[in-house]
Symmetry: C2
Amino acid sequence: MRRHNSALVLSTIADSPGISRAGVAARTGLTKATVSSLVDRAIAADLVVDGEPTRRDGPGRRGTALTLSPAGPHGLGVEIGVDYIATCLVDLTGRVGRQRIRPADNRAQPANRVLVKVGRAVRAAMAELPVRVGGVGVAVPGLVESATGFLRTAPNLGWRDVDVHAELRDRADLADIPILVGNEANFAALGELWGGGHEDLRDFVHVSGEIGIGAGIVMDRTLFEGVRGFGGEIGHLSVDAKGPQCSCGARGCLEVVAGQDTLLRQSGAPDVDTLVLRLRDNDRKAVTAVRGVARWLGTALSNVVNLLDVPTIVLGGTYAVLEPWLREVLQEELDLRVISADWSQVRILRSTLGTEAAVRGAASSAVRAIVADPDPFITASVPTT
Amino acid sequence: MRRHNSALVLSTIADSPGISRAGVAARTGLTKATVSSLVDRAIAADLVVDGEPTRRDGPGRRGTALTLSPAGPHGLGVEIGVDYIATCLVDLTGRVGRQRIRPADNRAQPANRVLVKVGRAVRAAMAELPVRVGGVGVAVPGLVESATGFLRTAPNLGWRDVDVHAELRDRADLADIPILVGNEANFAALGELWGGGHEDLRDFVHVSGEIGIGAGIVMDRTLFEGVRGFGGEIGHLSVDAKGPQCSCGARGCLEVVAGQDTLLRQSGAPDVDTLVLRLRDNDRKAVTAVRGVARWLGTALSNVVNLLDVPTIVLGGTYAVLEPWLREVLQEELDLRVISADWSQVRILRSTLGTEAAVRGAASSAVRAIVADPDPFITASVPTT
């Protein structure tokens, strides 16, 4: 019961920073005495801070403005990319702190070697911090079973059946810290939802193209993962059934006709930065390659919209960088193929976070887990006599 | 409040037929006096019947077994097919009564002419009945806005922007009866969920192939319609982006490569019955045509599973009839293309209701709407003094 009430109080303060104790009581239906006691414990645990006195709304003594504590436990996001490892800290108020990205060719090494490196990166991030880490979110480019956090397959890493949760817990000494393992595309969509700064973003598909192509589906501001957590695998939508062979074993998946490797090969550019320079110069080969990718991406996204009826697409990852050159063809395809487009055109947005979305979403998910269940932090800091 | 309690009592009886008044009180947390009063009113309104005395579980007088009344208000299902109009009655207990199907080439006529005929069919069904109709569910082969019941487009009928709800209310004198308008594929999935007799059917896609191809997506026993109600448009998934022209304006939609018209043309059979006879005779042209359709259907369904992560496909409509000849190729495609298939093969079931699923689901939806809000029926039958 107290566990539930602590969560209620914390999420009320999270939703209305600056609210008074009396405001929390009115909003939650708890008594003022209960709220005061819980708030005091949350302050002692560094979860909440007492700020300026609030304006007087009625009789009685003035309250003080409560906010979540920027010095309290932080969420640490970790992303295991195909060719990098990224970390990022987010505090309870949602402010993004230290971010770090280390290039690493994770494709070339077995899972346990990569996880040793990740464990080291996590320990380093935690050791150099003046703050406490209260939860870790780990983004992986593969299919994660939501009930267990078990990574079933990550085709672009060549990983199969890896218990990322257990490996990291042991290698990074995280025994006492909650660890959330999830698909990077799903975390990226959440990162965009919570920190992308778009107004009016409620139902959308966030599609991120890097070496793999992933999607995160958000409906009613909630991540849609499918029954077991394997939903949103847009990279393996078949767009050209008799097309080239994909790493998954099938033919003509979106990833193999519109992924970064194919795009670079077709454009003749050695990397995305060079590709962008050539696009700015109107290089014909580069422009043609990007328009070809946009055509296939538009076909796949039309399928997504026809099935899920989401009104908005957010272009993330490399697609965010390429958005100015993708948009026209993409909108054309969506207008042509989405059956509801005649009376309701699909809206295309560009991710503001780009390739940082996943690690940010992972860190923010860890923060939200603290707010949703603060009691272990309160219990740990207040001696119960 | 009473409205809410009536619904609670009725749905408890619906979930546990034979339950006693004391059982309802225990299950709902309402007092025995409240339950007794609500049950008496529901009996007077013909919604509930008192049956045999229940076994004595403890002290006190024995209760009687309550069930929903088979003589109470019925749900009427109406399906406006591309080439038929079907009606069906379902009572409060879920038992299916009179069903009727009238061939009608609804493609050849404007919407208002068809709706005159539908209104006549509804009035006829209601006039000849010994029972009262308490709600009407109308299945249409097109996109229905869930908030308004407005039919936006039905490409195979050639209809656009038709207020089916208002038209039927006026033409069939349904002013006092709730009318639910919905997509036929969605109603078919619900029909299969509630009345298909499959055990363990919780998360699935029901795909029905007739002249159009539609899908109903059910997750956690709940229909998934998408944000505005336009989800599940599997017929317009692009499987062959440069393929033949579809009625929707795009190219290579599933419907144009795997719909009934194409299948019949490729097999050389004049109708589905003849096609089945030829398949039984192992006619090579017929077998090849069905295997070709299975290939495309498997591609589209793989896309659905990769996006939504549903473990089960139910083949409905014409596909239920053709299931023995579709299954092998379909399973092959799903095994190849679904990225989670390696550790969790997609299960293929055959609809037991076939082409009746949609009209049954429409009628049952109307019944469930009565159980979910019985108060208007109670109020209408009991004088409030």
